[in-house]
């Protein structure tokens, strides 16, 4: 048996003329926090619904511990889903909601009661057992949804946009809480989200989706530092994306001039260049490559906007004490190692 809990092989799913998933393959490890990240309509939710059993792919395989998952009916799959809307049963109290999944097992009433109480205690819902969902706050509702989804001890818990409905303070609380619960219960989490902050702060690894295809699978840090294509570079973090032409030893940009690398990517091709705002240093120069059009104080740093002679806009994070005035001309300095070219 391999270390991979879930293997997805060449999954394709079409809805009419729309291709929701196009030949998607990925592996998810045991006990991993894995995020499917992408803009809305990129296919991540379709993949989630296929794993949960609400959709069936046109072609491809989903294997759990090397055996076919798709042939197992939804109701007996060792997979549970926490819905984005929570989908709590409005006519049942917290206890009945959480124990609902256990009533569909061969457990006795006594066992159901004990297991439910155990979960209620671990998730910290003790004082709310008798309340109906509409008597709970958003954060509490999410805890109930989470408790209900892990009550059947699934191998995989699917979370659909788990933090999107919460306000900022509760989001941070819940982030920590989700990690704790994932650790305590030893369940593999698959998180679907369109919010890169949510994915980066929660997941060990992230698969970035666009238009039904996986653009890159990697750790959050790798995605930020070494994106392999323009989509990921643009989607993850703040970045300046510039169009340039490759040279035998680097690239040439009409506004920034020639930049040399140690390695060559072949001369004369149109390329895309990514430079992160924190990688650029600005030095005043009357005949500089750009002019500062905006400078905003943002606490620990200054957000500077520079307009290049090519009219392209470059964002730069500068030191808050830097003497950079709107209207002044500057040169842009950066280490070629911090630049990514595709």
């Amino acid at each position: 048996m391999s270390q991979d809990l879930l293997k997805i092989r060449n999954l394709t799913k079409k809805f009419g003329s729309i291709t929701a998933l196009n030949n998607v393959s990925l592996e998810i490890k045991n006990n991993e926090m894995f995020a499917l990240l992408g803009p809305s309509g990129c296919g991540k939710t379709t993949l989630l619904r296929i794993i949960a059993g609400f959709e069936y792919p046109d072609s491809g395989q989903v294997l759990m511990n090397d055996s076919d998952l798709l042939s197992i009916p939804t109701r007996t799959r060792p997979v549970n889903l926490m819905f984005q809307s929570y989908a709590l049963f409005p006519h049942m109290d917290v206890f009945s909601n959480i124990s609902y999944g256990l009533t569909n097992t061969s457990l006795t009433k006594e066992e159901i009661k004990n297991q439910t109480n155990e979960i209620i205690e671990k998730i910290g819902l003790g004082e709310h057992v008798k309340k109906k969902p509409n008597q709970l706050s958003g954060g509490q509702q999410q805890r109930v949804a989470l408790a209900r989804a892990i009550a059947r001890k699934p191998k995989i818990l699917l979370l659909d946009e788990p933090l999107s409905a919460l306000d900022k303070k509760i989001r941070q609380e819940m982030q920590i809480e989700l990690k704790r619960i994932q650790h305590d219960f030893g369940i593999t989490f698959i998180i679907v989200t369109h919010d890169q902050d949510e994915a980066i702060s929660l997941a060990n690894r992230i698969a970035v989706f666009d238009k039904g295809e996986i653009k890159q699978i990697s750790t959050p840090q790798e995605l930020y530092e070494n994106p392999t294509n323009e989509f990921v570079a643009d989607f993850i973090g703040e970045g300046n994306i510039l169009k340039a032409t490759s040279t035998s030893s680097g690239f040439e940009h009409p506004g920034l001039g020639t930049v040399n690398f140690s390695h060559s990517i072949g001369a004369g091709k149109p390329v895309t260049v990514l430079i992160r705002p924190e990688s650029i240093n600005l030095t005043p120069a009357s005949n500089g490559a750009g002019q500062i059009t905006d400078a905003v104080f943002a606490g620990s740093k200054k957000n500077i906007t520079v307009k290049l002679t090519t009219n392209e806009i470059v964002r730069v994070y500068a030191d808050k004490s830097a003497n950079l005035e709107v209207g002044s001309h500057v040169n842009l300095l950066f280490n070629p190692q911090d630049v990514r070219v595709f």
Binding site: A52, G53, F54, T74, R75, T76, N80, L81, F83, S85, A87, F89, P90, H91, Y100, G101, N104, T105, R148, A149, R152
Partner: protein, 288 residues
Amino acid sequence: MVKSGGSKNSRHLGWAWASPGLIFLTLFAAIPVVSMLFMSVLTAGRFGGVTTPINFDNFSRATDPIFVQVILNSLVIASATAILSLLIGFPTALFISRLSRKWQIILIVAIILPYWTNFLVRTYAWLVLLNNEGIINKFLKNIGLIDKPIEMLYTPGAVIVGMTYLYLPLMILPIYAALEKVDKNLTEAAYDLGSSVWKSLRTISIPLAMPGILIGLIFVFVPSLGNFVVPELLGGGKTVMIGNLVRDQFLKARDWPFGATFALILTLILIVLISLQSYASKKANVNA
């Protein structure tokens, strides 16, 4: 919007808004009921109408076992109609609520359309279907299932089927309205948590549609209980319901006070049932 307990002006405005409804209800509900009440304690005139003296004989006459039997019959037939409508209407409403928006509208219109046709015409259609030489009997005979026709027409069963057909839209629409509001994710959550289709119906869809089910039951039961045309046409006069009694006392026996007594009894039964429904519905809403 007019809030209760608002300023004096807005409270006056509230009465103004309500007045068309109040005038209508006074004219066509309150006055008839009160006049029935008066009529039931008067004495029948020789050629219809009412005269003095005032007495309560009609109420003791109404407790005659023959009449009590008719009232019980009516309750049984109206209940059977409501239950049959529910058994057909719930699955239909559930099916419609799961379709795409476009098909939901098409089917809802298709259900309402026949309701705009004259109900006598639609009831006569059942005569053609159910009689001994009718389509159903002919079909069964042709495929060799029966030798001689089954007596379907002029039975309580025919009355129940006919009224179910008439009032089915009144069952489907409120249940559909209730189911349509239920978040589709709830059924998916139930499957995800291991429920069978039947269990998800029993524990999720039916409880959440309960207010609609209760309204549907009342909507079908009320007109069924007072109906006298369908028992006449499809019951062939052999199935007498309380509606027939009221009509016969007024139009045939010319005993208006006795007819008024039955009308009053009918109204009382309905008041009790509607109160029960609204109580049960409130309870169902609190749970939801």
